[in-house]
């Protein structure tokens, strides 16, 4: 914690958890998808569903999907901006299992039909946690440069990926593994102390068993 966790953030009101955090969740979803979604279905859970309307949570989530920051005065006008940008969205209430009260599941689709699903919670003070990606359990905040590596669940994947990072002088801050079932699809979430250069990402992509690599950088998301 530092002085600017106490004073700040500069944000559009009324709530750091239900508004600023919701914008950050939307922009995290956009960053993981790698582009603005063509369509987004949003499933609101708990307090997000019950008090979201009064806190501008709905507009805030859409604002994030459009790439707006939590302090953008246009956050309340995000529906109109989405229409202009040709992004369709819908909201539903859904009870999600074993999650924080301020949570949402976002199902997105790109222009060319690629689908991605992300679940995230707003923990307070504008801090967030992504608790699932494409149905696989995760726990990362976006406070560090992060790599999301989707791979086939087979021996050696983890050591090959961390080997590439080590060879490129990147220190791993945390590593989480999750899989759908033995030998099925799996995800590695790697939080790093340094930004991961694109050529390192390409090296990881070329490894056997790797399905997809998503790079989350602080440089473009701050």
């Amino acid at each position: 914690m530092n002085l600017f966790d106490i004073l700040g953030p500069i944000m559009v009101g009324p709530s750091s958890s239900h508004t600023a955090g919701a914008v950050r969740i939307g922009s995290m979803a956009r960053a993981l998808l790698g582009q603005q979604p063509k369509t987004a279905e949003l499933y609101l859970h708990g307090s997000f569903a019950s008090t979201g309307a009064g806190h501008g949570t709905y507009q805030a989530l859409i604002a994030g999907l459009l790439g707006l920051e939590p302090d953008d005065p246009d956050v309340p006008n995000s529906y109109a901006l989405a229409e202009k940008a040709g992004m369709r969205f819908s909201f539903e209430t859904r009870t999600l299992r074993d999650v924080h009260p301020n949570s949402v599941l976002i199902v997105m689709e790109t222009e060319d039909g690629r689908r991605m699903e992300m679940g995230a919670s707003s923990l307070g003070g504008g801090r967030i946690e992504v608790f699932s990606v494409d149905g696989l359990r995760t726990a990362f905040s976006g406070e560090l440069p992060t790599l999301l590596v989707q791979n086939n669940d087979q021996p050696g994947c983890v050591s090959r990926v961390t080997g590439v990072l080590a060879d490129n002088g990147i220190n791993v801050a945390s590593l989480q593994l999750s899989r759908g079932g033995r030998g099925g699809s799996a995800v590695m979430v790697i939080e790093c102390d340094e930004e991961v250069p694109w050529n390192t990402v390409d090296e990881i992509r070329a490894l056997p068993g790797i399905v997809q690599v998503t790079r989350y950088s602080l440089e473009v998301n701050q």
């Binding site: 106490i6 500069i10 559009v12 009324p14």
Partner: protein, 294 residues
């Protein structure tokens, strides 16, 4: 270096370093974060500018999404124009400023969380009113003083967050409006030229007077009673700062007051910690706004 875990340690470190308290707070944070003083100051100036801009952007005709709040800052400003207020020019201006900022927040305008969005009105209300009534004619000439006051506020806020909490869900409103007042009181003492010891006593007196304040928002929204509690937080800070400048001291040491806040917060029932299920939220009026359970 200040560890931001104890007011006593912060004062002792400041005595040893010989630096002004605000500067010691700034340098310690820069060292811990690994950032330059230049970057830190630029960030703090940006927060101050955002507070000024938010205050200037208030519109009395705007209402929150629920329709529960809006316009009260305008009413107070109109009332001040008749020149016969009970509280005098300065306090009336503080009250109007706190209402304006609380209403800006509820109406989804851009504000600075200090320490939270719900309590965003306390600090700018006292700092900007102090500038208007006692500061330099030109804002630019006062900017340095206000930035120093913000460092003092943030330093005390860090200690509250480390020893207790700055979240209504954890500690009730005493941890939000109470914390904001506990930060604003020493900031005012800084502006008035008081000593670090006076700042510590101001913070302790401000917190003691709001100990036990519950978080009971109608409908779970940051509107009722949040907007008007920014007024009481700001008034609390002003009175605590003036007491400290008069040489009045808190009998209970400042760190122990913060510890008491943590204990009181932990003892509060779930219904009075931002759940919108107790206190004002559970009155017949409040129940009309209660969200439907899913």
């Amino acid at each position: 270096m200040i560890e931001f875990s104890s007011i006593e340690q912060m004062l002792e470190d400041t005595r040893v370093s010989g630096l002004p308290l605000w500067e010691n707070i700034m340098r310690s944070d820069c060292e811990q974060q690994g950032i330059s003083e230049e970057i830190s100051r630029a960030k703090m100036e940006r927060l101050l500018d955002a507070m000024v801009a938010a205050d200037a952007g208030y519109r009395a005709d705007e209402r929150s999404a629920s329709g529960l709040v809006g316009g009260d800052g305008g009413k107070m400003m109109d009332y001040m124009k008749n020149g016969k207020t009970l509280c005098g020019d300065f306090i009336s201006d503080v009250m109007a400023g706190a209402l304006r900022m609380g209403e800006c927040n509820a109406c989804m305008k851009r504000i600075v969380a200090a320490p939270t969005a719900g309590a965003c009105g306390v600090l700018p209300a006292v700092l900007l009113a102090y500038h208007r009534h006692f500061g330099a004619e030109d804002f630019g000439d006062d900017e340095e003083n206000l930035v120093r006051a913000l460092y003092v506020a943030a330093g005390f806020g860090m200690i509250i967050a480390n020893r207790a909490s700055i979240s209504g869900a954890e500690g009730g409103c005493q941890a939000e409006i109470g914390a904001a007042a506990t930060m604003a009181a020493p900031a005012l003492v800084q502006l008035m030229g008081g000593t670090p010891e006076q700042m510590a006593h101001a913070s302790a007196m401000a917190m003691k007077n709001l100990l036990g304040l519950v978080c009971d928002p109608v409908g779970g929204l940051v509107e009722v009673p949040c907007v008007k509690r920014n007024v009481i937080g700001a008034m609390d800070a002003v009175s605590a700062a003036q007491m400290a400048m008069a040489g009045i001291e808190s009998r209970v040491p400042p760190d122990q007051v913060i510890d008491a806040m943590r204990e009181v917060g932990a003892s509060l029932p779930h219904t009075l910690r931002e759940t919108g299920k107790g206190g004002l939220a559970a009155t017949p009026f409040g129940k009309k706004y209660q969200p439907k359970e899913d």
